[in-house]
Amino acid sequence: MFTYVLRRLLVAIPTMLIIITATFFLMRAAPGNPYALDRKLPPAIEANVRAYYNLDKPLIVQYGMYVSGLVRGDMGPSLKLKDKTVSDIIVEGLPVSAFIGAWSLLIALFVGSGLGIIAALSQNTWRDYLVMSFAVVGICIPPLVMGPLLSLLFGIQLGWLPAGGTDPRLGLTLSHAILPVMTLALPQVAIISRLMRASMIEVIRSNYVRTARAKGLSGYRVVTRHALKAAILPLISYLGPAAAGLMTGSVVIEKVFQLPGIGRQFVDGAMSRDYTVVMGVVVVYAGLIMLFNLIADILYGLLDPKVKYS
């Protein structure tokens, strides 16, 4: 087990390096530079600024400096936001994104698997059809549609919840988080309920579940003690893609609800060629996704006795 985790972490290093290299050179292939977009600087000053950020050095040297900085945990200064390092920006933004993302994931897992189990246990009844219709509609209402609509309905028309933004004093409060979390969770709830239904249906048809029933166990106990553990396995391997989906969605909802998370920093950074911020966010997101995939694989191994780590 320990060697398995160690090996996975070792494999993660070259993968990360590929991501960093690809992002770095792609970003630099773009025409224009961070200082070409706003008001024109006098040439002498621009040269000074570029020298300060090492933008005047050859590309390969910049790349080397960036990677060696990264190893020491230094992601460099933001090229656009004065007096801020990329680490500052990520430390400020990540809690907001993580708060929304974690709640969405939790809600998606519990509500989604709950709905999936209900649908599976009452297969081909109105309850099943209701849940599955909800799932199809849920998959088809992406955050970029749901976000503005919820904000319009609950934020502006009804005035029950803030339409967006954060509290000026308290930051991200629960009432500010409800609509973004609902928006982000909905497609995942839908996908997970479909996964759970399919997996549960397969499990309750299996022989050992029939045996448990034949022994006289109640339907409830058969599900909770016998079927659930096996049915939950596909859900665990979906953790990685779910995390990726949430991060993609976070970019949208942070724009819709005006939240100061790192998804928004990424988009703003890409638009204004703030190379270091873009790199920083990609590194953090890629790292998180790899972490989620690793957790999923470890959990899978713990729950499924057929999987052996070698």
């Binding site: 792609l26 224009g32 509609v137 088809c140 970029l144 988009v267 790899m290």
Partner: protein
């Protein structure tokens, strides 16, 4: 996935010989949700193709005296007008046309890459297969949409015309969506090579041409067709996602994603600018998903 032919082979065995596709068609047309979706989608597609030609308003024409009118029958602004006095119904029709076009082309791109990649990996097997699928695994586990964003921002800035940017968009989205297709095709090719019914056909004296035509292609085609129907809505979403962030379709062209983005910015004063494009997109996506599900149940009846 692979059992379509197992279950169907005995059915098509009797002398009368109903083909696999006739069976699938019958099952598909008995699926109400799929049939209704096909009808709605046909109407939407026709509206997207011919609507902008026949509708009384042009999607770009600005009526300076009719800015931000709510939906009204006066002058036939049935979905209102936007902040430049442009007819929203015409814009939604045109946006739908662009979204569908992007979806079709990008899906085609992903189809070609995915089928070739998956088929080569599946048929060659061994080391080639391992390396090719390892690449797919690595890309799969990355926040790939972020690369699409970087790609559209960096290369997009080199391009002048909006048409070139649209082509870049096709390529960028198609390049992301091929991964699952490659996995599906690879899995199918590997399992089909060793299937009993293929061996049986060979033993019965069928040539490899007949085997490929009668057994391999239909079984490969089924999952691919299903997946294509499910890729189209995914691509529509990806395009909307990019356009929403201001990185996809840009003026003077428009798409549903861009309309939603513009509408979301003005929803407090003019909710119809958001609601109609959003509704159109959701209906389109729901239709594609129901058709995709219906096709899957029809072609691969295992999961019913």
């Amino acid at each position: 996935m692979t059992t379509a032919a197992d279950t169907n082979a005995p059915v098509s065995a009797p002398v009368k010989g109903r083909s696999l596709w006739a069976d699938a068609r019958r099952r598909l047309f008995s699926n109400t949700a799929a049939v209704v979706s096909m009808i709605i989608l046909a109407i939407l597609t026709l509206a997207a193709i011919f609507g902008p030609m026949v509708w009384v308003h042009d999607f770009e024409h600005q009526y300076r005296d009719r800015v931000l009118e709510s939906p009204t029958l006066v002058h036939w602004h049935i979905m209102g007008t936007d902040n430049y006095g442009r007819d929203m119904f015409a814009r939604v029709l045109f946006g739908l046309r662009v979204s569908l076009a992007v979806a079709l082309v990008a899906t085609l791109v992903s189809l070609v890459i995915g089928v070739v990649w998956g088929a080569v990996a599946g048929y060659r097997g061994g080391r080639t297969d391992q390396i090719m699928m390892r690449i797919v695994d690595i890309i799969y586990s990355l926040p790939f949409i972020f690369f699409v964003i970087i790609l559209t921002v960096t290369i997009g800035a080199h391009l002048e015309s909006p048409v070139q940017k649209v082509i870049l968009l096709f390529a960028a989205i198609g390049a992301v969506e091929w991964l699952t297709m490659a996995r599906i095709v690879r899995g199918q090719s590997i399992s089909l090579k060793h299937k009993e019914f293929v061996e049986a056909a060979r033993a019965a004296g069928a040539g490899s041409g007949a085997i490929i035509r009668r057994h391999i292609v239909p079984n490969l085609l089924g999952p691919v067709v299903v997946y294509v129907t499910l890729t189209i809505p995914a691509v529509i979403l990806a395009e909307a996602f990019l356009s929403f962030l201001g990185m996809g379709i840009s003026e003077p062209l428009t798409s549903l994603g861009q309309l939603i983005s513009l509408g979301a910015g003005q929803m407090e004063i003019a909710s119809w600018l958001l609601i109609y494009p959003a509704l159109t997109m959701v209906v389109t996506l729901v239709c594609f998903n129901f058709i995709g599900d219906g096709l899957r149940d029809a072609i691969d009846p295992k999961d019913r």
